[in-house]
């Protein structure tokens, strides 16, 4: 009788420990997903902060590119004023597009490209664009492992009990931006 009780107690103990372990793993993964999401926001904010400086430096050299500048400023203010995720991601997509157009136009201004100040800004902008896409990439990685954990046995039971919900992957809204990487396949 006593041994049976001990066996039951041990089994129960192991079971509870396993539940605690899985629950903690789920919480950790969810926090990683949230952290990755906030990383994207940090980098987007950096991009917003860089733009006024960039335009100020480039303006003097690029007299005939008023439309390019306007597209950038407009997209920037839209992105900064966005109230929900869908709106913001659309505006950010437009901003990214406007900036990559700007970088192409810059090729036609050798004087500007010789400006040290501008070169430094250009490196920062390139890096920020990279950081944004790497942050998105990392977010999707984290979402993948979180979703896997939620769907797989036995963690799916505990996820269901405590209300862990699958997250959506980040997908690029603007069609033009989505097409960019495909050029390498041609």
């Amino acid at each position: 009788m006593v041994t049976a009780l001990i066996v039951i107690a041990v089994i129960l103990g192991v079971f509870i420990l396993a539940v605690i372990g899985i629950y903690n793993a789920l919480v950790r993964l969810r926090n990683q997903v949230d952290n990755a999401w906030s990383q994207i926001d940090v980098q987007l904010k950096r991009r917003h902060d860089l733009i006024p400086n960039l335009i100020e430096t480039a303006k003097g050299y690029m007299k005939h590119e008023r439309e390019t500048f306007e597209a950038i400023t407009e997209a920037r203010s839209k992105a900064m004023g966005a109230s929900n995720v869908a709106e913001s991601s659309k505006a950010e997509g437009m901003l990214g597009e406007a900036l990559s157009k700007f970088m192409l136009v810059v090729e036609n201004y050798p004087d500007l490209k010789a400006n040290q100040n501008f070169l430094a800004l250009q490196e920062e902008l390139t890096s920020t664009e990279n950081k944004i896409s790497f942050a998105r990439q990392s977010f999707n990685d984290q979402v993948l492992s979180f979703n896997n954990k939620i769907q797989m046995f036995p963690s799916n039971i505990i996820a269901g009990m405590f209300g862990f919900i699958k997250r959506d992957f980040f997908e690029i809204e603007v069609a033009a931006e989505r097409e960019v990487p495909k050029v390498s396949f041609s």
């Binding site: 490196e123 920062e124 890096s127 790497f134």
Partner: protein
């Protein structure tokens, strides 16, 4: 990515266990010889103490000594914004909890390494020669390789395995030297003190001990080097996955391999596995050095990376690895099985300005050749062969890697 880290951890624990067994067995046998049949346990204790002391030394001093020994200078964003930005980009891509410290080594030989036992206290160091030669994409590939080492906990592994290896080597050296001097001084005492009549067993024990003392370090070395090479492949796979651009690392490795400058001034055998390319310049004798090298042949690493044409996932790397080496996968099965949608990305626009112009000329040329019914073939080494329509025969040799390729039937 996490599946890979877990598999790595399992492999490391297994390797450590094997090495620990070798160390303890060696201690046991040596103890039996020196003290007699009861000395086995004492020998095991001695082996454990040696291991403990070495562990304490290397964990208390650790990476700071390595960085100081290689004369690495810490840098901030102002000193080299591009390098700093690239490290930060890779930190974000890898999801590291903290920004690694960035160091530059003032040495013309192009190389790089990472240290730090866990992702929280990691450092990345690159040489000035590397910064001078690589463009942005290539530098990104190299940094991604180093960050992958950090992410895969390879530094911890190398430290722990190095300690174990060091203990085995030390113990067997002490024993062999002790035997040598012992026999010179003709200490009969040891043999007579053993249990009477156990002379025959004692001599057999002695032979076993000598054989073990000679073979154990060799075995441990080969194990260590084989796993170190495997980790290089894994870090390459990780770099391709982080950057989504295997060509960056491939062309960086090509530049590093083809560099004529002398080998790094501050390097030793212990730190070698942490560098992106073997810091010791090879002199001939390729086959033997392949077994005892900490790094896989660089040409092979380039070929594998160039063979990843469909994507940048671990699965794709594994496929390319099999195509090039004809061996089964280097990537643990858990990571290969992942259904990942990992597309390749485009080269960085600024970094490849000159190259882009050349590429455009190439593309125009290719279009013209296609019009003229040239046959296009891609070799496993990544070289694109363009075979003219009047070429006779159905086999062609790749001019870069000398592999014979079958020519597809012309559709006419």
């Amino acid at each position: 990515m996490w599946e890979l880290i877990r598999a790595n951890k399992r492999n490391s624990i297994f390797l450590m266990a094997v090495m620990a067994l070798v160390l303890l067995a060696l201690g046991f046998v040596i103890g039996m010889v020196f003290i007699g049949p009861e000395g086995g346990l004492f020998g095991v204790m001695i082996a454990t103490v040696i291991w403990l002391v070495l562990t304490l030394i290397s964990f208390s001093s650790g990476d700071q000594i390595l960085l100081a020994a290689s004369k690495a200078q810490p840098v901030t964003h102002d000193v080299h914004p591009q390098l700093f930005n690239i490290v930060e980009e890779m930190k974000i891509a890898a999801g590291l909890p903290r920004m690694p410290k960035v160091y530059i080594i003032n040495d013309p030989a192009p190389n790089a390494f990472a240290t730090g036992r866990n992702p929280e206290t990691a450092s990345v160091a690159v040489t000035a020669g590397l910064l001078a030669r690589l463009n942005r994409d290539e530098l990104q590939g190299v940094v991604a390789h180093e960050i992958s080492h950090i992410l895969h906990r390879d530094i911890l592994f190398v430290t722990l395995a190095g300690i174990m290896l060091g203990s085995i080597v030390l113990l067997s050296q002490v024993f062999l030297r002790g035997m040598f001097y012992g026999s010179m001084m003709g200490s009969r005492r040891r043999y007579s003190s053993g249990s009477g009549g156990g002379g025959g067993a004692q001599i057999i024990m002695l032979v076993i001990a000598i054989a073990a003392a000679i073979l154990a370090p060799i075995f441990a070395y080969l194990l260590y080097f084989a796993l170190s090479r495997r980790r290089e492949y894994l870090a390459d796979a990780g770099a391709a996955r982080l950057t989504r651009y295997p060509e960056g690392l491939a062309s960086a490795l090509e530049k590093i391999a083809g560099d004529p400058s002398p080998q790094l001034a501050t390097v030793n055998k212990v730190t070698a596995p942490m560098y992106i390319a073997n810091p010791f310049k090879r002199k001939g004798q390729r086959k033997l050095s392949d077994l005892t090298s900490t790094h896989p042949p660089i040409s092979e690493r380039i070929k594998i990376l160039r063979n990843m044409s469909q994507g940048a996932s671990f699965k794709e790397y594994s496929k390319a690895y099999t195509a090039v080496t004809h061996a089964s996968s280097v990537i643990p099965a858990g990571a290969v099985g992942l259904k990942e949608d990992v597309e390749l990305r485009q080269a960085d626009a600024q970094a490849t300005k000159q190259e882009r112009r050349e590429k455009q000329i190439h593309q125009v040329g290719d279009i013209m050749r296609r019009v003229n019914q040239f046959v296009f073939l891609t070799c496993v080494c990544g070289l694109k062969l363009k075979v003219p329509p009047n070429f006779k025969g159905d086999k062609v040799k790749c001019p870069r890697c000398r592999k014979v390729l079958d020519l597809p039937r012309k559709s006419q």
